[in-house]
């Protein structure tokens, strides 16, 4: 019997469940390795070579190389792990979160200052805004 996953119809949202976690194990553990300064230095010196040390899929590696965080999440990444790439790049959490929304950094920051993204129209996939 299939497991109940009522969160699949929340728009613009990927819930990091056991299935995503299994897909993203090596991607996330690669991210975790960036908590060590020497690993950050090695990654920065040659990103491709560093990624090739991990049993990640080619899609996952490309998503990291292009810093496509939405794609990383689709492929099993979790934002708290992906944040280690942001830290390596000198990006704030707000810059990272904003980069997934299609907004510019300034637009995203302004949206947050004026109260954030409204819930109206953002509860269900296909909901009218």
């Amino acid at each position: 019997m299939a497991l109940e996953k009522p969160y699949k119809d929340v728009p613009g949202t990927t819930v990091f469940d056991a299935e995503q976690s299994r897909k993203g194990y090596h991607l996330n553990q690669f991210c975790m390795s960036l908590m060590k300064a020497e690993n950050r230095a090695r990654f920065k010196a040659d990103e491709r070579a560093y990624l090739d040390e991990w049993p990640m899929t080619e899609d996952q590696k490309q998503a990291v190389l292009t810093r496509n965080l939405n794609r990383c999440i689709e492929l099993g990444g979790n934002i708290y792990f992906l944040a280690k790439i942001g830290a390596t790049d000198g990006k704030s959490f707000q810059q990272m979160a904003g980069s997934m929304t299609g907004m510019t950094e300034e637009q995203y920051r302004d949206m947050m200052i004026s109260g954030g993204r409204p819930i109206e129209g953002n509860r269900y996939v296909g909901e009218k805004k």
């Binding site: 949202t13 996330n28 908590m35 280690k84 109260g115």
Partner: protein, 280 residues
């Protein structure tokens, strides 16, 4: 015997820690937030506990995907502030309370909550930012802290109901400890926020304020709120709010006194809430 006299609820946004560490608290962006915590700080100064039982979550710091404990109790004598990728925060070492922690672990496990016991662990912003918000930036934290980490990163996270019942078990454990300690229990994380995907930046003030109302007045009913309501209404990371129910469950069954309530948007991507309840 030991007793729980009060509970504190607060968000633990990492950017708040960065604002403190970089001396930005007086900047116009941050000033309203830190001003809103002034009454909480004053209360903390006047009501210093002997121990804080601090419920928080680790953010891919002490726990990678290698081991994911649902409930982990820190029984060590001390806990170092973690390097989360930007270098360790310049905050004091967190002193533990191993005797009480071991006592709580034994009692709570015998009450059917299968805790993971952790004797070596670094603590991240989830634990240190709340300490800064309530205690400022002292040379040493004012009292020992028992870190209690809840998995809210990988689904399924524990239900609100489970967290609330766990709080009751923690209360019973504390009250069976012989030494007359004054214990605070803190629930941290939240409020509404989403850090990922095209819906990032979601804030829901109505949800947050209704949550605060119900946390004060009817936690029993609030504890039955299903996960999906948090995810849909408060954002994928708003699920952290289940941790507040651990602290609320540990309070007496009689209505508490509301000492302080504060709500502010935004801190970076997040809605910030702070509540202090005392047992009457």
């Amino acid at each position: 015997m030991a007793r729980i006299t009060a509970s504190v609820y607060t968000s633990h946004v990492p950017a708040i820690g960065a604002a403190i560490d970089l001396g930005k608290t007086a900047e116009p962006y941050w000033q309203p937030l830190f001003k809103g915590y002034e009454p909480a700080k004053a209360w903390m100064k006047a009501n210093r506990p002997d121990v804080i039982f601090l419920v928080y979550n680790d953010h891919a710091t002490a726990f990678s995907l290698d081991i994911i404990p649902t409930f982990a109790i820190g029984c060590a004598a001390e806990f170092q502030p973690a390097d989360e990728g930007w270098g360790p925060r310049p905050v004091p070492v967190v002193k533990g309370q191993p005797e009480l922690a071991a006592h709580i672990a034994q009692s709570v496990i015998q009450d059917d909550f299968d805790l993971t016991i952790v004797n070596k662990m670094d603590v991240d912003h989830g634990l240190t930012v709340p300490l800064n918000l309530l205690c400022g930036s002292p040379e040493a934290w004012p009292c020992p802290v028992i870190p209690f980490a809840v998995n809210v990163v990988q689904y399924p996270v524990p239900s609100g109901r489970r967290c609330y019942q766990l709080g009751k078990a923690v209360r019973k454990a504390v009250e069976s400890y012989d030494e007359p300690l004054n214990v605070h229990i803190w629930g941290t994380g939240g409020m509404s926020h989403q850090l990922q995907g095209p819906r990032a930046g979601l804030i829901n003030k109505e949800f947050d304020n209704a949550f605060l109302d119900q946390l004060i007045a009817d936690p029993e009913a609030l504890s039955r709120k299903p996960h999906i309501d948090y995810v849909r209404e408060a954002g994928s990371e708003g699920i952290e709010l289940v941790m507040w129910l651990v602290a609320r469950g540990a309070m007496a069954d009689t209505p508490p006194r509301v000492v302080h309530r504060f709500y502010h948007v935004p801190a970076s991507n997040t809605a910030v809430g702070n509540l202090i309840l005392e047992n009457v």
